[in-house]
Amino acid sequence: MLFKGFSAILTVLAGIGVALVLYWILNKIVEFLPGKWEDRIKPYAYIAPAFLAITLYLIYPAIRTVFLSFKNDDSTKFVGTKNYTDLLKSHDFQQTLYNTLLWILIVPAATIVLGLAVGILADHLRPGSEKASKTIIFLPMAISAVGAATVWRFVYAYSPPGQPQIGLLNAIWTAFGRQPIPWLATSTLHFNSILLMVMMLWMQIGFSMVLLSAAIKGVPTETLEAARIDGANERQIFGRVILPQIKGTIVTVFVTVTIGVMKIFDIVYVMTNGNFNTNVIGVDFFNQLFTNINNGAAASIVVMLTVAVIPIMIYQVRHFRAEEAAR
């Protein structure tokens, strides 16, 4: 045990040391080149290791995944588009897509609205209480979905009628004289998926609150005073002066949460493993890969996910270009 801890620290030092020596050597080699060439080559020497990592772990696998998605379960022969058609025809996968769509429709919007609301409320408090309340709401962001699952399993726990209910929700429910409900197994109107989304919101709202409230504080006071002098009420000020000025941040939070939700995995995996009709793309991918041991199906799920992400990618690049131009 001690050895592992020690070797971790050693690895950090060795890793950083080796990287530094590597750059130093690269730098020296490049410096031996005649003057003009030194300036030409050096930038590439500086970015090469980073690009090696990105190429090896994202670009090459992305291309290979596209290939694998047209191959069979152990990648030994081409099967054309069979993986895609099989998936899209299967009722289970359609449900999975539908559930993921629900997450995408509900969670980002709810994160923005609730984060904005909580942030505005907390901003009215004295600085001490503001900081304390924001820390409490922000804190779940620090823990893992597994940790959060140990928390929320307790809220949603179910015992058969007659036994003591140790889950908070069922304790409250039965206190009103009703029969206990196995919440996470209740898929009527996707209720269990919504309960999982509540968990996600518990973890994520702090993030949106911190960013949005910082953006609101960054709105120049002059614009607010000008609006007040013109006789605008608080609601108009919020809707017409503040909101337009924090639009950029809202979009950023929205995009970030949307990407996170599209590939949501751990909350669902840990809480239900996709059972009771709560399956989402991330969990389905994992189970295709490790339970069904079907590389082809797993790869084609990733390809579909990546295609769905491309519009966001285009948006990000455009946004970045516009920002660079404004610099």
């Binding site: 801890g5 950090v12 950083i16 500086y46 709401i137 620090a142 908070l168």
Partner: protein, 305 residues
Amino acid sequence: MTATLAPPTDVRPKKKRRGAGGEGGAGRASWPVKISVLLICFLWIVPALGVIVTSFRTVDDSNSSGWWEVFLHPFKYIPQLTTANYTDAIHQAGIGTALINSLAIALPATFIPILIAAFAAYAFTFMRFPGRDTLFILIVSMLVIPNYVAFVPILQLYSQLHLAGTFPAAWLAHIGFGMSLAIFILRNYMSTLPKEVIESAKIDGASHFTTFWRLILPMSTPALAAFAIFQFLWTWNDLLVALVFIGPGENQPVTIAVNNLLGQQGTGWELVTAGGILSMIIPVIVFLSMQRFFVRGLTAGSVKG
């Protein structure tokens, strides 16, 4: 050269004014506002409280009564509280080893990519070379690519190299997956540093290597810290990459260990809750002590947008 060396400690203007909060501004909250914030905080704390309380209760108590009973009948339940769950979780359920494994995975996966990314960010910010903008656009577009694309091919590669299940398997993966974000954050920050610093260093005859090591890296501390916290929390809390590249076994991190406890039928609440709390302690400490950097990293990246 000394005159230009003063590091810009915070490039964002300090915003002490707070007119945009609404009618009253700070400190003059009405009672409904105070009560609603209190209620929201209560809603946030109560679920977590259940885990904390249960982790100190005996098996029989946790199975026969809700954790809130401790507060309703303190004289009955408080004397029975115990720390035995924690020793059991650490020694018998393997959480102790798993915590060490998590550190062994997260520390190298956090610190090694930073230097690599910093060099690249430096080149992207302060050097001119053909293809620079195109390559950076590539980095920006890689930000959103789900790392799922890597799993099948890399897993096949790892099994050929007999890397699957080892720590380096996870380190390398985390380095690859975190790289584009690291470059993006660092480059955004470096481009806000005053260009004159570089110019005067150049005039004084400093090489790029010296400028980077002596000037730019120290000046970028806030961004380096912001990314380090991000990456540490991400790798510590990660379940998916660990499941795929390390899997359950002797090298499993704490997320897998606790997840196994959650999944086992018959594992009592006492181990699950103690294990869960143990898995949260380090990230919560890191988060609370470095919150300032974390928030700055978050806002610096987004508020501008």
